[in-house]
Amino acid sequence: MRNRPNDRGLAEKSLRYRRSVLKWIKDAGAGHTGGSLSCVDILNVLYNRVLNVSPENFGDPLRDRYVQSKGHSVEALFVVLADAGFYPESELETLCRYQSHFVGHPTRKVPGVEQNTGALGHGLSVAAGMALAGKLDDAPYRVFTLLGDGELAEGSNWEAAMSGAHYRLDNLTAIVDCNTLQITGRTRDVMNNEPLDEKFAAFGWAVRRVDGHDFAALTEALEKPLEAGKPSAVIAMTRKGRGISFMEDVGKWHHGVPDDEEYAAAIAEIDAQLAALAEEVPA
């Protein structure tokens, strides 16, 4: 397995991922900016510290699996997969363009993508099926899926949640990118689904709520199943638009595309943070 980067290394990667997410969304003139920025740190920890997935082992039946149920945050996934070596990031020049396989939601035509998603409420069932196959075969792999908090209004998630506990899928981890915003407004105002901890626990899951931008906390929650015999639910508290002051926790950036001025301001913020990071004395 690749060298495991330290928190500072991850911090730098997240800044570069955010820069790329904005670049490609700006370039394509379309994308789900807010949600991609809220889940970048989660994907960073998954692909750089947790998942046993690489371009070399992607055909291996024993690889770990990641299914992005909140498929609209695809720009974050595409950027992280490029960094993981699945394709040159420059291929994202075609994002959302005529005849590109970089569609606005994940598809298996893109190397590294496990499952076509985009309609909400599908990923957890598919991930449960992958995890169940692992149990039937006594295979050691783990399966992760990323859900949005707004997405949890889809009833199919709770069908899948039941089956995850029923089949004791402790090789399955559902991560909720809980940025508390959806397209209409606050999730609690649109259709309240809190307390999510108690809901998942009542369905028979082991649950942990963590800061979804804290690399150490995410790593600790994700690197092992939370409890033997139960699927894991990691409720990652995040902020939509994370990392860009004027986008953070602002609903309109759900699928807002920055204009030239906004883009320049956002990149300047990221570059300032990268410069500050470079000046820090290495630990």
Partner: protein
């Protein structure tokens, strides 16, 4: 199911009454699963309806129960298939193709997972239970999805061959099975192959193009018309609604004076419309009727009652064909 006259016609043709396709499906699947530990049946509280009780007892590790949750049924099936399992997802056709339509569209067809979706008690098999339990929309709905084969076996032999085909297929597939005991069709030596129709009887006066449990009625109607009217009717069994055997359909339109399609489905979007569109696009002049269930509040009754009511029996199909042939003759004269 059949009238006394139809049973007599079947006897005259030497056709034997077999069993329900659903039973053949379950037996064949068990046989295949015994030889392939990777084969799984996934059920939504439907092992009884799917005749999979013996399967569950014999191979408990090869049956996955998801409870009454058809969306999850299809999603889990996709996940299992992605990990290399040979998956048959079994649920009443009415729920499988409506409640979980989006899972079929995205998780199976679009994601290219070679799952066999098995719609049990399909069409109006659950006749008297009402429209909630009918699946007369399934061909139409599923035909509109890319990357999904659709097949409806017409007798026990086609059913067994369809299950064996499904176990080998690497393309997502929907199979539809009914509950009624079916007569065996003539011409059993013709192979069952993807996208191929089976010619059960040849003739040039008229062609019946039928699928699933209506095929036997077309066979009987052809015999009835031969005896009473001296008409020579071709009968095609079309197990595959998709991919459709375009050559066989166009040959029937070209070589016969009229075409009647028959299906246990609403008139919209099924075999009839598929054939009509094909024939029209080929520029062939063709007298044509689609025998199907009309766009109305479906009448209450058993499958046999509903077939009779909407003209899907030997008598009904023969009458439709005769009227069409006569109008065809009048126009020619």
């Amino acid at each position: 199911m059949h009238s006394a006259a139809a049973r007599e016609t079947a006897a005259a043709l030497g056709l034997e009454l077999g069993r329900a396709n659903l039973e053949i499906f379950a037996e064949t699947l068990l046989e295949l699963a015994r030889a392939d530990g990777n084969l799984l049946a996934v059920t939504s509280d439907s092992r009884g309806s799917g005749k999979l009780g013996p399967f569950g007892k014999a191979l408990p590790r090869q049956i996955v129960e998801v409870g009454i949750a058809e969306q999850n049924l299809v999603g889990i099936a996709a996940g299992l298939a992605s990990a290399g399992k040979n998956v048959f997802a079994v649920s009443p056709a009415c729920f499988l193709t409506a409640r979980s339509f989006e899972q079929v569209k995205n998780d199976i067809a679009y994601s290219d997972r070679p799952v066999c979706l098995v719609g049990i008690s399909a069409g109006v098999s659950y006749g008297a239970l009402g429209s909630t339990h009918h699946s007369i929309h399934d061909f139409a709905a599923l035909r509109a999805l890319n990357n999904l084969d659709i097949a409806a076996p017409a007798d026990n032999r086609e059913a067994a061959e369809a299950v064996r085909f499904a176990a080998r297929s690497q393309t997502p597939l929907y199979l539809r099975f009914g509950k009624a005991a079916l007569f065996s069709l003539p011409c059993p030596e013709q192979p069952f192959a993807r996208g191929k129709a089976r010619l059960l009887r040849d003739g040039g006066d008229l062609a019946f193009i039928a699928t699933g449990e209506t095929v036997i009625h077309a066979v009987l109607a052809a015999e009835h018309l031969a005896r009473t009217e001296g008409l020579q009717c071709r009968v095609l069994s079309v197990p595959f609604i998709k991919p459709l055997d375009e050559d066989a359909v166009l040959a029937a339109a070209r070589e016969c004076r009229a075409v009647v399609t028959a299906e246990e489905h609403m008139v919209h979007g099924g075999l009839g419309e598929a054939c009509a569109a094909l024939i029209l696009a080929a520029g062939m002049p063709c007298r044509f009727r689609a025998a199907a269930i009309p766009d109305e509040y479906t009448v209450t009754g058993s499958q046999a009652d509903i077939f009779r009511h909407y003209g899907l029996t030997m008598e009904g199909l023969a009458q439709t064909a005769l009227t069409l042939a006569q109008s065809s003759a009048a126009q020619t004269a």
